[in-house]
């Protein structure tokens, strides 16, 4: 069966254990989680969870329905790709000996900058669409990154 990638936003009551309910639903039913990010919505009792998942149309439909079924879930948004803005953050650490100006130029091309310069390492950050973050991570290979941390996707309808 053909699978597709989907971004799903879930607005949940900001209560203890709620993330475990969401991740438990995926684990218990064998659904995939590609990435999951969560943070409280400012000035409210809710949190926003962005989930990237992969599955067949039938599985994706079930994921949305099963998420709806959880008691603390207020809203589930099954994002259509063309109507959604997706952003992802990545941090990468390079030896100080690498070319600072090259890395800086690369970062700028991907909505980023040098976030920190220390005695031994520099840390670069970019925030861009997931595909572009992937490209950035490929491009920086030749600068010998020592450590890379990538966030999950956050998504919002246009």
């Amino acid at each position: 069966m053909q699978t597709e990638r989907r971004v799903i936003s879930v607005v949940v009551l900001n209560e203890h254990g709620v993330l475990s309910r969401i991740s438990g639903l995926f684990a218990g039913r064998g659904y995939n989680i590609e990435s999951l990010t969560v943070a409280p919505i400012p000035s409210g009792e809710y949190s926003h969870i962005s989930i990237v998942t992969i599955g067949s149309a039938k599985v994706l439909e079930q994921i949305v329905k099963q998420l709806h079924k959880l008691i603390p879930v207020l809203k589930v948004i099954d994002h259509e790709r063309e109507k959604t803005i997706e952003k992802e953050l990545a941090l990468a650490k390079f030896p100080i000996s690498e070319s600072l100006s090259d890395i800086d130029a690369l970062c700028r091309a991907y909505n980023g900058k040098i976030a920190n310069v220390g005695e031994d390492f520099i840390v670069a950050m970019v925030a861009d669409e997931p595909d572009r973050v992937g490209n950035f991570l490929k491009a920086i290979k030749k600068y010998n990154p020592k450590e890379i941390v990538r966030s999950g996707v956050v998504a919002m309808e246009r």
């Binding site: 254990g17 475990s20 439909e61 079930q62 008691i71 207020l74």
Partner: protein, 563 residues
């Protein structure tokens, strides 16, 4: 008003109209049990195992249509309860389970009798709560009952740290409640119902497929009216037995693995399948690609996630079944030409005539089907029938003359051995006027036999009919059919003396190896006014037939089996 946490629980149970709770005390619920000792609003039945407390609450809920309540302590008290909770969850039974937890400050320290109870119960409850503060306890109690009984019902678990059961707080128990994030859809979409009605009018080979939702939604009357109006025949899942009264000409029998030939053929040949609160369980569908493959599907269910989960619905209707059926009736009542279905109905009658349910009653050995029929003749719809899980369960489902809601109580989804006896005790508390019979097996009955004490101590009289074949019968049947008769560890001939066992617990015991002995023992059991164990020696090699092998198509049934 100011109350401590334990008093709040007692007051909430009173406000919810709870008459009976089942439970087992322990360290973490001592404060609550002290309060139970003082109150006079409801009765507490002390079971001898926490699993049985939850099954009893479950049987109570199924027999009464109300929310069942069980109380257990922390740690092992809670983990013992999990099988009961999971059983209720799979069958969508409304329960509120209250468990004690170690004091809030000790949570996460591996304290004595500590377990992550909400972590364990999360996948097997409709919802659960860990109470973190006395201020949230009243609302949590209210929400628990509301969630348990509304929408698709289910068990709700509340884990309460011991210190909170002693802490004092404000208790204002709301009479009504609305939740921002939980609003089950009750009324089905009118346009969809209109389309479904049109599909029923246009079909020439329609079948109603009734599931447990008919019972949970209390929609037996509405289903019967619609069947009467349309003349559309009906098949029942295990959970929906009794939707139509036994003998109703519109009833084709049970569908699925051990369904009747007529029911399974009807579904296989239908051009329209109207699923009423049924979830297309694999024990019903058999091989999915062959299930109702000529049929358009109307699926009515209060749980949107049940629709389209297994089988795509052409006409999905989300809503409470009772209301949706009323709306559907209104749509159809003007003009429905029953005669249009006469060819279809006569074809199905023919199927029923060619392969009726039946068994070979020659020889001296008691046939289990005969036992079920005899109990049915004696009690009919006056009885509440519970079962454990196994061959006896299927024989009871096939041969008992069911009629109506809340009279047939069985663990359908999870298939929990040990369920029947404690569920029977709960059912008897809910329906004291009814005779309660638990059909069980020699394997199942031993799984919660300790509840004989609960029965004796509380004068709860139920009759356990042990269909004893000295086997773990259903597993033996599969070994016989599909594993070349290698009877691996299902021979249960090493048995206790069930009669002495019953007597040791203060119950009535009798043994039967001949038909007349059974009838005598059954009447004596009823006359004894006690809980009874009737140890009935049945034909050891009897199988449950018809049978659709796992993964097989419904229309390929084993109708007869000879080694």
């Amino acid at each position: 008003m100011e109350l401590n946490g334990s008093q709040m629980i007692v007051e909430a149970l009173r406000a919810e109209g709870v008459k009976t709770v089942f439970g087992y005390p322990g360290g973490a619920v001592l404060n609550l049990y002290d309060e139970l000792y003082k109150q006079k609003y409801f009765e507490h039945i002390l079971t001898r195992h926490e699993q049985a407390a939850v099954h009893a609450a479950d049987g109570y809920a199924r027999a009464s249509g109300k929310v069942g309540v069980a109380i257990v302590t922390s740690g092992p008290g809670f983990t013992n309860a999990v099988t009961g909770i999971a059983t209720a969850h799979t069958d969508s039974i409304p329960l509120v389970i209250i468990s004690g937890q170690v004091a809030a400050a000790l949570i996460g320290t591996d304290a004595f009798q500590e377990i992550d109870a909400v972590g364990i119960s999360r996948p097997c409850t409709k919802h659960n709560f860990l109470v973190k503060s006395i201020s949230e306890l009243p609302l949590i109690l209210k929400e628990a009952f509301y969630i348990a009984r509304s929408g698709r019902p289910g068990p709700v678990h509340i884990d309460i740290p011991k210190d909170i059961t002693a802490e004092i707080g404000q208790f204002n128990y709301p009479s009504e409640i609305t939740m921002k994030t939980y609003k089950p859809t009750i009324k089905g979409n009118p346009r969809q119902i209109q389309k479904a009605a049109q599909a029923i009018r246009e079909s020439s080979q329609p079948v109603f497929y009734a599931g447990g939702g008919v019972m949970l939604s209390n929609a037996v009357k509405e289903t019967r009216s619609l069947v009467e109006l349309t003349g559309v025949p009906l098949v029942e899942t295990l959970m929906a037995r009794g939707t139509l009264a036994a003998g109703d000409p519109n009833l084709l029998g049970m569908v699925g693995m051990h369904g009747s030939y007529a029911a399974n053929m009807a579904v296989s040949e239908a051009d329209l399948l109207i699923a009423l609160g049924a979830r297309f369980d694999d024990r019903v569908t058999g091989r999915l690609g062959e299930f109702a493959k000529h049929a358009k599907i109307i699926h009515i269910d209060v749980d949107p996630s049940s629709i389209g989960k297994i089988v795509e619905a052409d006409y999905p209707i989300v809503g409470d079944l009772k209301i949706a059926l009323g709306d559907l009736y209104a749509q159809l009542s003007e003009k429905f030409d029953k005669n249009r279905l006469s060819d279809w109905r006569s074809r199905l009658s023919n199927y029923a005539a060619i392969y009726p349910l039946g068994y070979d009653d020659e020889g001296d050995a008691i046939k289990p089907q005969w036992v079920v029929e005899e109990v049915g003749k004696a009690l009919g719809s006056k009885a509440v029938i519970t079962t454990d899980v196994g061959q006896h369960q299927m024989w009871a489902a096939q041969y008992y003359p069911f009629d109506g809601a809340n009279r047939w109580i069985t663990s359908g989804g999870l298939g929990t051995m040990g369920y029947g006896f404690p569920a029977a005790l709960g059912a008897k508390k809910a329906r004291p006027e009814a005779t309660v019979v638990n059909f069980t097996g020699d394997g199942s009955i031993l799984m919660n036999i300790q509840e004989l004490t609960t029965a004796s101590a509380n004068n709860i009289a139920v009759i356990n009919v042990v269909l004893n074949n000295n086997y773990l019968g259903m597993v033996r049947q599969w070994q016989t059919f599909f594993y070349d008769n290698r009877i691996s560890h299902t021979d249960l001939s090493a048995q206790p003396d069930f009669v002495k066992l019953a007597e040791a617990f203060g119950a009535f015991g009798a043994r039967a190896a001949k038909k007349e002995e059974f009838l005598e023992a059954f009447n004596a059991a009823i006359a004894s006014g006690k809980t009874a164990i009737l140890d009935v020696a049945i034909d050891r090699d009897e199988n449950v037939l018809p049978m659709v092998p796992t993964g097989g198509a419904l229309y390929n049934m084993i109708l007869d089996y000879k080694e």
